[in-house]
Subunit: 347 residues, 2 copies
DNA sequence: CATTGGATAGAAAGCGCTTGCTGTGACGCT
DNA sequence: AGCGTCACAGCAAGCGCTTTCTATCCAATG
């Protein structure tokens, strides 16, 4: 029924070994033989059996990419960039690799399960994106898995994740970015800044918030606890948190959001509350996703080089680029000042 | 070095066959034996060898998802929904499956290569999303591949793609949606409507445009060829096409875009041209992606139930839902009237 | 002309798992 | 008591490929 290597070998009048070598191209095969084999492959429409060759060769051409939410462009952009570099069809690399994008939904258990699944498939490499969860138990479990994977020959790279001892990391300077943003707002004259944070247990959330607070501290502004609201990384969360901030202190003149999506929710809440942006309240986001420039007014935010970071992580995962010195590369964000931020009301 | 089934068997004092049966749970094993085996698995931190079992069982637990652009939420949303249904970790289904998201970038060759790669992996199922390319040669090649896959036991489902004889299809009524949208605009009094189409060779482009023209025809409006510009499904394309439309006929009072992303570009171009939306020119999108509601004014568009369609496709692919009658289910879009559309200038 | 060695091709031993078929006791039936 | 029936467990034959080692051929060398 299905065509096997042996069938091709028979048709080309060579041994299976030779066919295998033609297909893998890592052993001298006479040109005439090669052609005969290739012709037979073509005639028979032969398709290699992936599992069988993975078993025999003890490696597969699968590359895992773990993301929190595939529907979020933040992850989509990174995943796309990683994939373009791992040498799938159309990529520049040699062998044809299959990217396995795994959607963890931010759940620690799923993250672990997916890592096990990838280990089971003997993945060639794994790239984990997005912030980590700061639960020591989970962190240890992930670390353990990553070590196992590495030992089994799987290359592990973190992209936009805090570094761990177990893997090479391309990490974003969320702290610095947060600081930049808040400094900008303070520079405009703002003194009462609301902050909409992400989920409390995520590293990304903490780092961005730390940057924000560092900027406040540097300017000698006391951070009123009422000015910080935790939420999720989605639009609705931004909407609700903004209403909450307004309730707690109607006097805030700026809202800093955990990311652009949250910022859009904040804008909507402000508008619905009859406030103008930036005349009454300034808004800032984070990430500079493509849609941020289309908000009205366009969002002031911190641009993260998502595609570049993903591409680099992909190349490192494929061994086509050297790992950064010390195994860690920190990528800075760039402040994008746009229409959503301005001087405070009455300034 | 690596732990194998045999090691587990030895430790649990049973045969490898028994271990395999415990792990697959499709053969009676005494409770006491099972426990012993499970304990051994745990002690040894055994991880099944995916390729080996795929080879032996002649099926894998990989499910392919083909998308045009993973960074585009349109595809991200569908991919996420499909994945949540195929029973990966956290999904409701039984076995743990790995979703392989393949980014074709809209390229026909890559599409074919990925299908071959999935065939090679003996994927359990494949879901193709997004519009197809209307090149007969390519269509035939894809059809051929799909037939091969089906014959090999891979379930093939199309999601948001025009039906083909080779597969079950959940398809969007792009034509009807396009018509709805333009009817709405005509109803508001518009008579000079610019249309920014997607790439000319895509089915989605053609269907939406056909709907638009049908609405025009029904209202007795002659479609001036100058009013249609082809482009890509991205923001820049919308921006440039809008300027082009304005150049060709400054008198247009509405712009219908191929999708929401294009519509945002159109809005930007109009704004940059000093035109107000919808006072001077109305704008309409398509898809109702999450950001569309955050545009200012919010985008009038056609909502496509991306997540529902994806979920359904996923369930069908997993054999957990019956295929629709005749193998084709058509999903309609819903007109979402929002702020970006209004009566024409001077009405 | 015998010898050496490079270039190819083949034989065969697995890779680690699944599964059809074959035991083997224990149980219940007549 | 005798025998068919179950419920489990094990044996062993692959699944289709890779790769080491070996065999062969032929040109080049002394």
């Amino acid at each position: 029924m299905t065509v096997t290597l042996a069938d091709v070998a028979a048709r080309a009048q060579v041994s299976p070994a030779t066919v295998s070598r033609v297909l893998n191209g890592n052993y001298p095969v006479a040109a005439s033989t090669r052609e005969r084999v290739l012709k037979a492959v073509d005639d028979l429409e032969y398709v290699l059996n992936g599992p069988a060759s993975a078993l025999a060769a003890a490696t597969s051409d699968l590359v895992g990419i773990l993301v929190n939410d595939i529907a979020d462009p933040f992850f989509g952009i990174m995943a796309g960039a990683i994939q373009s570099e791992i040498g799938g069809p159309g990529g520049r690399a040699g062998g044809e690799r299959l990217a396995v994008v795994c959607n963890t939904g931010g759940s620690p258990e799923r993250e672990l399960t997916y890592l096990t699944l990838l280990q089971r498939q003997r993945a060639a490499a794994v790239v984990l994106t997005g912030g980590a969860i700061e639960d020591p138990v989970h962190l240890a479990a992930v670390g353990n898995k990553l070590r196992k994977l590495t030992e089994a020959g799987t290359r592990v790279v973190l992209c936009g994740r805090p570094p761990t001892p177990e893997a090479i990391a391309i990490t974003f300077d969320n702290r610095g970015g947060g600081q930049l943003l808040t400094e900008h707002l303070i520079g405009l004259g703002h003194r009462r800044l609301g902050y909409i944070a992400g989920p409390e247990e995520r590293t990304t959330t903490r780092h961005r918030l730390e940057g924000h607070r560092a900027a406040l501290a540097a300017a000698g502004i006391e951070d009123d606890p009422r000015w910080t609201v935790y939420g999720r990384y989605d639009r609705l969360s931004g909407y609700e948190a903004t209403l909450e901030l307004l309730r707690r202190d109607p006097g805030i003149t700026a809202v800093v959001a955990a990311n652009d999506t949250v910022a859009l929710g904040a804008c909507a809440a402000l508008r619905d509350s009859g406030l103008r942006i930036p005349d009454d309240v300034s808004v800032a986001g984070f990430d500079d996703l493509p849609f941020s420039i289309d908000a009205v007014p366009a969002l002031t935010t911190v641009r993260l080089p998502l595609a570049e970071a993903g591409a680099r992580a992909g190349r490192i995962a494929m061994g086509r680029e050297e790992a950064p010195h010390g195994g860690i590369a920190t990528v800075r964000g760039e402040l994008m000042v746009r229409g959503s931020s301005g001087g405070p009301r009455g300034a």
